[in-house]
Symmetry: C2
């Protein structure tokens, strides 16, 4: 099992081979054993295969080609709607119109998403997390008919691939792990932790191609700009509030 986890990589190109319903069901049954707060299971999973709905979602995921190409798109949502409806039926109120409830449901949804991915990869499937879900949350909610107290947070594409792509680099473990308490990084440690990443040929090429001085600038000036972060912050906050979580 650890070998599967260690050797995995994200799959962005899929075969047209459909995914067997009983396998998908099995992966989902395994996923819902994931821990959730108070066993409330504050999440829902929307499975989209329909070409028309995928076409509506595609621009909301910046037209990344795997959206249309993958046989299955899965949207993992924080969901207090189901629990709240149950509470109302039982003459009480979930009290979930607040930020803590949103985060509680968000954690549930994200943990389940990752269990699903691990399960899928253990069965030879490939996945890709689509990082745009928190950028266009309101529009995705409309396309997927999400009611009050449901917020989409993670989208994955799922399918079979011809070959597992090469792994990309990771920071050394010592860059990530802190013993007992957090030990803040000196300049020297930052240099050391990012050295291998900066020296990779593929990353050097990104710097050259983008006419930047270094890899960090590729991230901050091209891929994840402050202007976009601020724009998408406002949109995400609005979307969460639109869905009924007030703060």
């Amino acid at each position: 099992m650890l070998d599967i986890l260690k050797n995995r990589s994200t799959v962005r190109s899929y075969k047209t081979t459909p995914i067997d319903e009983s396998l998908l069901n099995d992966l989902l049954e395994a996923s819902i054993r994931t821990s959730t707060t108070g066993n409330m299971q504050l999440y829902s999973i929307v499975i989209t295969r329909d070409e028309k709905i995928k076409s509506e979602l595609s621009p909301l995921h910046f037209n990344q080609p795997m959206i249309k190409q993958a046989p299955i798109l899965m949207t993992f949502c924080a969901d207090y709607n189901r629990f709240d409806k149950w509470c109302h039926l039982r003459n009480t109120d979930a009290g979930c119109d607040n930020f803590q409830a949103f985060m509680t449901a968000a954690i549930d949804a994200l943990l389940v998403a990752q269990t699903f991915c691990v399960a899928a990869e253990s069965k030879g499937l490939g996945i890709c997390y689509i990082g745009t879900t928190t950028y266009t949350t309101s529009s995705i909610s409309k396309v997927l008919n999400l009611p009050k107290f449901v917020v989409p947070l993670a989208t994955i594409t799922l399918g079979y691939t011809d070959s597992t792509p090469d792994q990309v680099e990771r920071l050394p473990l010592e860059a990530i792990i802190h013993q007992e308490q957090y030990s803040d990084y000196s300049e020297e440690e930052i240099r050391k932790h990012y050295l291998a990443k900066e020296n990779l040929e593929v990353n050097k090429r990104f710097v050259t191609e983008n006419n930047k001085q270094n890899l960090a600038q590729v991230f901050t000036e091209i891929r994840y700009t402050k202007a976009n972060f601020e724009k998408f912050s406002n949109e995400l906050l609005s979307a969460i509030r639109e869905q009924g979580f007030e703060f």
Copy 2:
């Protein structure tokens, strides 16, 4: 692998058996292959074994006994600090003082946490998510010396157990999964989805013991009250902002 996921349950009581360093290292190496946004790895993991620090954390986790009893406590943090320090060293700015950046790092941290748990369970270890991390975020940040742009979001206890506890119930899969788009629940569907849960002897006992009319009220009036949610919402929002994410 699916069988391990399907048969798992949360472990709240641990043997004193220590966890081998090379095994822990192996689990962590496997975990950091988890997908993250743009491969930025916006998370850190604090591993706490020290009795004194565990004693300081224990009340922040409402003195749940497994905090002190488990050989290892792991706190998974959204972390933009390391990346931001790298950016500054490279004459640029991560632009992360906003809500979108917080959520991006939160997603990274939570997905890694769950991979770690799956990996640990595949090697015979037991884990328990401690749901209090988002209730006392500011105080936990102080005990763990978390700098600006680091927010603790999930804590697990880790250790060996004599026996895996019985599984608790889950809602039926059809309650969780939506095909193509979200199909909102009728009263009849809510009744059906929660029927087995409400009829479990252990859940009926909770209702009686707490002098409530039904299980939903045990959740909303005892375990997760609106008053607590609102209190902890304000505290969590303050904590995230204190750590430098402005919104």
